[in-house]
Point group: C2
């Protein structure tokens, strides 16, 4: 293999992820990626083909990290504690960075109508795997829900997390989002504890 690649692919994809996270798949340009990575536009075309191919690589890395973190947050405690941990993780995730980067999945989902089937598939993949994780966490914790209820509730929780991502874009602070998340879990799980 002659003419070796002059850049670190892992690093380029990691930087590309950051660019996409900040600007979105649609708004990030090849020039943005070239500037951020220090790799010439032509080299990126040569190495990956087009912007979407870079996005898919970056997104796949992101999805793995994200779902791992979600699984961790959902691993222990009561159902309420698991959901609280999970939602806190989500909120911190979307309010990190300066300025905050928001949620890459949600941003990408909103552009679904101008995205390729590949991209749409990744979004649906992340959301459905997330739903499965949550459903499992709900039904495996000591709780009062049937498997069917757990599935339905999991979808509601996923939907709520997407709402948090929108609210973040609308200007709500980390603190406000955490407060809403706490209210949500409190209302959903309310029992004799009397929260809410």
């Amino acid at each position: 293999m002659a003419g070796a690649r002059q850049f670190d692919e892992q690093q380029v994809i990691a930087i590309a992820l950051d660019v996409f996270w900040r600007k979105g798949l649609h708004d990030a340009t090849m020039q943005d990626l070239a500037a951020a990575t220090g790799v010439q536009r032509g080299s990126l075309y040569n190495a990956y083909g087009d912007k979407e191919a870079i996005f898919l690589r970056a997104f796949d890395r992101y999805a793995v990290q994200f779902l791992d973190a979600a699984a961790d947050a959902l691993a222990e405690g009561s159902t309420a504690a698991r959901l609280r941990n999970f939602l806190d993780m989500i909120v911190v995730n979307m309010t990190s960075g300066s300025p905050p980067r928001g949620c890459l999945t949600t941003r990408t989902a909103l552009d679904a109508d101008i995205s390729s089937p590949e991209v749409r598939g990744r979004i649906q993949g992340v959301l459905s795997r997330l739903e499965q994780l949550i459903s499992k966490a709900i039904s495996s914790a000591p709780g009062e829900w049937s498997a069917a209820d757990a599935n339905r509730l999991a979808r509601v929780v996923v939907t709520f997390t997407r709402g948090l991502a929108v609210m973040e874009r609308a200007g709500y602070s980390r603190k406000q989002l955490k407060e809403s998340a706490a209210t949500f879990v409190g209302a959903l799980m309310r029992d004799a504890s009397g929260t809410l």
Copy 2:
């Protein structure tokens, strides 16, 4: 006033709303607006200045209609019934059209980082007025919530509606969204009735 305008402004704004609703403020072009309205690009620039000015007019009309519809849906019945009516209205609203148009407010919110303060302000305005409507509906219905609880719950409900809008973009059907909404209300409002 000599040289009268050759087009119906109400109609142009209504058509512009449809274009923005389908493509988003950012992705809709002046050429899209010109083609859809039948008014030349130059005339639109002459009449309104730029794309954002047209958007603001269209959005303001949309916001009034939307909030009126929300107030209607939240007007009568138990807290649960009000919320169910309201969420059904929201879901129908975002799944109407072919293909479905989604939610204009949510789409616009997701582009907050490249929008003007005026546009961001409109988004926040709609969301906060919606929150107030819901809070009022919750606390005015025969129910068990304090005013502070109603405020917190209202924000949770607004957040959930934003989540529904994202899920719609991700490919969920009207039926699925309604089902999630029903589960949400059932879980939130659960009492001796035993739903969920």
